[in-house]
């Protein structure tokens, strides 16, 4: 067991350092070979993932008679059959399935986001009666109204400039400052976690 762990740590640290050196000193051949191996492993992991999805839902279909799982299993098998047929006949049915089923469904889900976000904002006001919740909601309303009014003809010409200034101030100063603070924190966290991985101190793979 200890030997197995040592091999895992050695492999992770060795390839981590090798990739770092290759990227720093622009040894493009070496880094692209390592990244190619990693991409190959990621592709294998994806196939395993799809098999896991199929097996989990097959089990649920037969054990719990779950109708949704049945639809999912049929969809997976149907698309697989269509892909095989495409390969044999040169037709384009997988693309047609994507364009007629998946793309409209994803577009519908994307359009629902705005409604869900609005609901989330209302729930925040119901859940928290604090100044921060009010500030959150007021900012959201000001930004939405501001953007909407600026693109419409309803706003009088005299008010156009002050509204634009408010919207730009919130976007360029408040939001940008917050985002940069967040990203600096994330960058520091990423840097130190990466260092711990390269030192072999952090071992998420060692199970």
């Amino acid at each position: 067991m200890k030997l197995k762990q040592s091999i895992a740590i050695f492999t992770a640290v060795f390839f981590g350092l090798l990739t770092l050196v290759a990227l720093l000193f622009n040894v493009s051949g070496l880094s692209s070979v390592i990244l190619g191996w990693a991409s190959f492993l990621a592709a294998i992991a994806l196939i395993l993932g799809v098999m896991n999805l199929l097996l989990v839902h097959l089990t649920r279909l037969f054990k719990e008679q779950n109708l949704y799982s049945g639809v999912l299993v049929l969809s997976i098998l149907g698309v697989f059959a269509a892909a095989v047929l495409d390969g044999l006949t040169g037709s384009n049915s997988v693309n047609a399935l994507f364009n007629w089923v998946q793309a409209p469904l994803e577009a519908a889900l994307a359009s629902l986001l705005a409604v869900f976000l609005l609901l989330a904002g209302v729930q925040l006001l119901k859940r928290q009666h604090t100044g921060w919740a009010v500030l959150f909601s007021v900012t959201a309303v000001v930004m939405l109204l501001g953007q909407a009014l600026l693109t419409s003809r309803l706003l009088p010409a005299g008010l156009r400039q002050p509204v634009n200034q408010i919207v730009e101030f919130v976007q360029n100063v408040v939001v940008t400052a917050g985002l940069r603070g967040l990203l600096i924190g994330v960058a520091l966290g990423t840097l130190l976690l990466s260092l711990r991985l390269l030192m072999g101190v952090e071992r998420p793979y060692n199970k």
């Binding site: 492993l41 889900l109 994307a110 986001l113 928290q128 130190l192 976690l193 991985l197 998420p204 793979y205």
Partner: protein, 246 residues
Amino acid sequence: MTPLIILLTLLVLVVLLFLLTRSVRAGRLVVLRPLTSYEGLAGQVGRAIESGRQLHLTLGQASLVGTANPTSISAVAVLDHLAKDGCANGTPPLITVGEGTLLPLAQANIQHALAEAGRSGDFDLSLTQFVAHDTDPFAYGAGVAAVLQQQRVASNIMVGRFGPELVLMVEAANRQAIDQVVGTDDPTALAIATAVTDNVLIGEELFATSAYLEGSPSQIASLQLQDILRWVVVLFILGAAVYQLV
């Protein structure tokens, strides 16, 4: 010249990390800032056991092969902690992943936690579920929402890289009146999370997870070094601002 400067900086950081780790190991008292999100996280396993239902944890869509892999590794630290607690008490968490490379890692964690609890035979394939690939964020959001609606879930913990699709999952959990903890480094997802729950691990707090949950000397030292670096950045920004004004 630049690569050498970067290497030198990394070496200095490694030495500092080593020295701080040694000092923590020697018994220097370190007080971590209280974070309410961790208190929320810590109570989730207990609530799941009391309610006799499962705890659901989803690990986001950041690939271990991509540039956002530290986010996923931090998420796995949360999984590690919850799996240990849950498996020891006979309620292993239900894990969903939105990226292929996260699946073997999640399965290994659950199997390890069950083995440590002496319950290796309890491993079930449906404990770790692949939902969708990272190129299909809406399929992932809808898939996790379906899991939350169909399974008996006590708490919903979402840690890792998410985008706007997070709203589909949190809304599904809200409809079921399920407690939620969200931890991510994505600004859009953070804005959504702030609106739906008080338990939010904001950006760098997610990277500090392992130090708060496990508290090993190297993790605490890393957190301290992160604080030191933050002050260096703050002073640099202030200095640059003053320099521009003068």
